[in-house]
C-alpha cells in the first residue's frame, strides 16, 4: 500500500553500503540521471530552433507577422478582447453551475428504479437523445435568435441568456450520461446494503450512491469543464460580445488578425492549466483505483 518500501529499496545507499561497492555505482547513477536530461534539452533546442528558422525565413513570413503577430495591433486590441474574455469566463462559470445541477437532476431521474418513475425516466431518455443529436451551434442559433424574437412575456429577452440556456441544455445531455455511468458503476451490493438497512431509494442515492458516483466521474467532468470553456466562444455568433466577438470587431475595423491571436492566447492561458489539472485528477483517480484493487 505505501510507497515507502519500494523507495528505500531503490536506493540502498546508506544501510547496504558495506555489502556493495557503492562509489562506482553512485557515479554511474549520477551520469545516467544527467545524460538523458542534457540530450532532451539539446534536441528540443535543435528541433524547435530549426522549425523557427524555417518558418521565419519563409518568403511569406513578414506578411504573416504583420497580419497575425503585429505587436501594436495586439496592444491596441487587448483591452477590448480582455473585456470580452471576462464575459466569456462569466458565461462559462454560470453555464457550469447550470449544467452541473440540471445534468444531475436528469441522471438521478434516469437512475431511480421505482416503477411509478417510468414516465419520467422515459422523458429523460428522449431528452438526452434529442439534445445529443443536435449540434450545439444550431441550438445556440435557435435559442439565441429564435426565442428573443418571440418576445415572451415575463422571460428575459437577451440573446446572451438564451444562448447560455442552449449551452446548458445541450451539455447537460452529455454530462447526465457521464453521471449515470458513474452511478451504474457503483456496486449492486451498495444498493442491497442500503435497502436492507431500511434506507429509501432516495436516501440510498443521496447518502450511498451519489458520493461514490461523483468520485468515479470526476476526471470525465474535468474534461467537460475544459471543453465548455472553449465552446462558450460559439455564443459570439449570436452577437454576444465575448472575447472572440471583440477580436472580430477589431479585425473588421483594421483588417488585422492579431486581435484573434490575443483571444487565442487568453483562451490557452485559461484552458492549459485546467487541462493539466484534469490530467492530474485522472492520474490520482487511477492510482486510487489501483491501490484499492491491490
Amino acid at each position: 500500500m505505501s510507497v515507502a518500501p519500494s523507495a528505500s529499496g531503490g536506493a540502498p545507499a546508506e544501510g547496504a553500503a558495506p555489502r556493495r561497492p557503492a562509489p562506482p555505482r553512485r557515479r554511474n547513477q549520477w551520469r545516467t540521471a544527467i545524460r538523458p536530461t542534457i540530450i532532451s534539452v539539446l534536441s528540443v533546442l535543435f528541433v524547435f530552433g530549426a522549425l523557427g528558422w524555417w518558418v521565419t525565413s519563409a518568403e511569406m513570413w513578414p506578411q504573416v507577422r504583420l497580419q497575425f503577430f503585429n505587436l501594436d495591433a495586439m496592444i491596441a486590441a487587448f483591452p477590448g478582447v480582455l473585456r470580452g474574455f471576462g464575459v466569456s469566463v462569466s458565461i462559462w462559470l454560470s453555464a457550469l453551475v447550470g449544467i452541473g445541477v440540471w445534468a444531475l437532476v436528469l441522471a438521478i431521474v434516469r437512475s431511480l428504479r421505482a416503477p411509478w418513475f417510468t414516465p419520467f425516466r422515459l422523458m429523460v431518455v428522449i431528452y438526452i437523445d434529442i439534445f445529443r443529436g443536435i449540434p450545439v451551434l444550431l441550438l445556440v442559433l435557435l435559442f439565441g435568435f429564435g426565442i428573443p424574437a418571440l418576445n415572451l412575456p415575463g422571460l428575459p429577452n437577451s440573446g446572451l441568456f438564451w444562448g447560455a440556456v442552449a449551452m446548458i441544455l445541450s451539455y447537460s445531455a452529455y454530462v447526465a450520461e457521464i453521471y449515470r455511468s458513474g452511478i451504474d458503476a457503483v456496486h449492486e451490493g451498495q444498493w442491497a446494503a442500503s435497502k436492507s438497512l431500511g434506507l429509501s431509494e432516495w436516501q440510498t442515492m443521496v447518502y450511498a450512491v451519489l458520493p461514490q458516483a461523483l468520485r468515479n466521474v470526476l476526471p470525465a467532468l474535468m474534461n467537460i469543464v475544459v471543453a465548455l470553456q472553449k465552446d462558450v466562444a460559439l455564443l459570439s455568433v449570436i452577437g454576444v460580445r465575448d472575447a472572440v466577438r471583440e477580436a472580430q470587431i477589431y479585425t473588421a475595423q483594421t483588417f488585422n488578425y492579431s486581435s484573434l491571436i490575443v483571444a487565442a492566447a487568453l483562451f490557452m492561458a485559461a484552458t492549459i492549466p485546467m487541462a493539466r489539472l484534469a490530467d492530474y485528477v485522472t492520474r490520482k483517480d487511477r492510482e486510487r483505483r489501483l491501490q484499492r484493487a491491490g
Binding site: 446494503a193 436492507s196 438497512l197 431500511g198 434506507l199 447518502y207
Partner: protein
C-alpha cells in the same frame, strides 16, 4: 401458542423461467439458529434474501411473528427494522468512516439523534473489538475487521432476526475465527439467526437446525449431530462426501 419468529410457507421463486425456490417451507423459533447448507446455486442466498424482501418471491408466504412480511405493518421500513442482514462481501460504504457506516441507518431511518447514535455505535464497536477503528475507513481495515463492522452496522438498529450470507467466505482462513466468535456470542445472547455457510464445522457447532438445499428445495432438515453423522437422503450424503473430500469438514 406463540407463533414462530419466522415462518416460511410454500415459497416459490422464479428467475425468468428458472425455478430457484420450489415450494420451500421452514420455521424458525425465537432464539433459534438455523443453518442453510447446499451446493452453489441451490438457492440459499435467494431464500435468505426473500426473508427481508431484498428478493420478491412469486408464491407462498413468509410470516414474521405471525404476520406476513407483505402486510402493511411491515411496510416502509418496518421489516428492515426487525431483520438485519450481513453479506459475504461486507458491502460497507467505502466513502464513510466506520462510525458513519454504523450510524447511517439509526440516524436517517430511525431518526435517532447524532449524539445518541454515535454513543451507541461506539459502545457496539468496542463490544466487538473495533472500538479503536471508529474513525477508520473500510479500505484501511482487514477483511475480518470489515466484516465485524458490517455485523455491528446491522445490529445498530436492534433487529430481532439476523440473516448471514456466507459471511466468512471472502476471508483469509486466519481471519475466519474472529468473525465466527462474534456469531457464537450473538447466539449466546439469544439472537434468532438464519445462516448460510460453507463452514460445516461451524454449522454443526452453532446450529439448532440444519437445512440441506438442492435445486431450490429443502431436501433434509434436522438436528446437526444427526444430519452430519447420519444423513438420511443420498443427496445429502453425496454433498457431505464432497465437502469432506475438499477438506472442509
Amino acid at each position: 401458542m406463540k407463533p414462530p419468529r419466522i415462518e416460511i410457507d410454500g415459497v416459490t421463486k422464479y428467475y425468468g423461467d428458472v425455478l430457484v425456490l420450489d415450494d420451500v417451507s421452514l420455521s424458525v423459533a425465537e432464539h433459534e439458529v438455523v443453518c442453510l447448507i447446499g451446493a452453489s446455486g441451490s438457492g440459499k442466498s435467494t431464500l435468505l434474501r426473500c426473508i427481508n424482501r431484498l428478493v420478491e418471491f412469486d408464491h407462498g408466504t413468509i410470516r414474521l411473528d405471525g404476520v406476513s412480511i407483505e402486510d402493511e405493518r411491515y411496510g416502509g421500513t418496518g421489516l428492515q427494522k426487525r431483520v438485519g442482514i450481513v453479506f459475504q462481501s461486507y458491502n460497507l460504504f467505502p466513502h464513510m468512516s466506520v462510525l458513519d457506516n454504523v450510524t447511517l441507518a439509526p440516524r436517517k431511518v430511525h431518526k435517532v439523534g447524532r449524539r445518541a447514535a454515535e454513543d451507541k455505535a461506539r459502545e457496539l464497536l468496542s463490544l466487538f473489538g473495533m472500538g479503536d477503528h471508529a474513525g477508520s475507513y473500510p479500505e484501511q481495515l482487514s477483511g475480518g475487521q470489515q466484516q465485524r463492522v458490517a455485523i455491528v452496522r446491522s445490529l445498530a438498529t436492534n433487529p430481532d432476526v439476523l440473516l448471514l450470507d456466507e459471511i466468512t467466505a471472502a476471508l483469509d482462513p486466519e481471519l475466519i475465527g474472529e468473525v465466527l466468535k462474534i456469531i457464537r456470542r450473538l447466539k449466546d445472547e439469544g439472537m434468532t439467526m438464519v445462516i448460510v455457510t460453507h463452514e460445516m464445522g461451524f454449522a454443526r457447532e452453532v446450529a439448532d437446525t440444519v437445512c440441506f438445499l438442492e435445486g431450490g428445495r429443502i431436501l433434509e432438515e434436522g438436528d446437526p449431530a444427526a444430519l452430519f453423522s447420519a444423513p438420511e437422503r443420498p443427496e445429502t450424503r453425496r454433498f457431505l462426501q464432497r465437502i469432506i473430500e475438499a477438506g472442509r469438514l
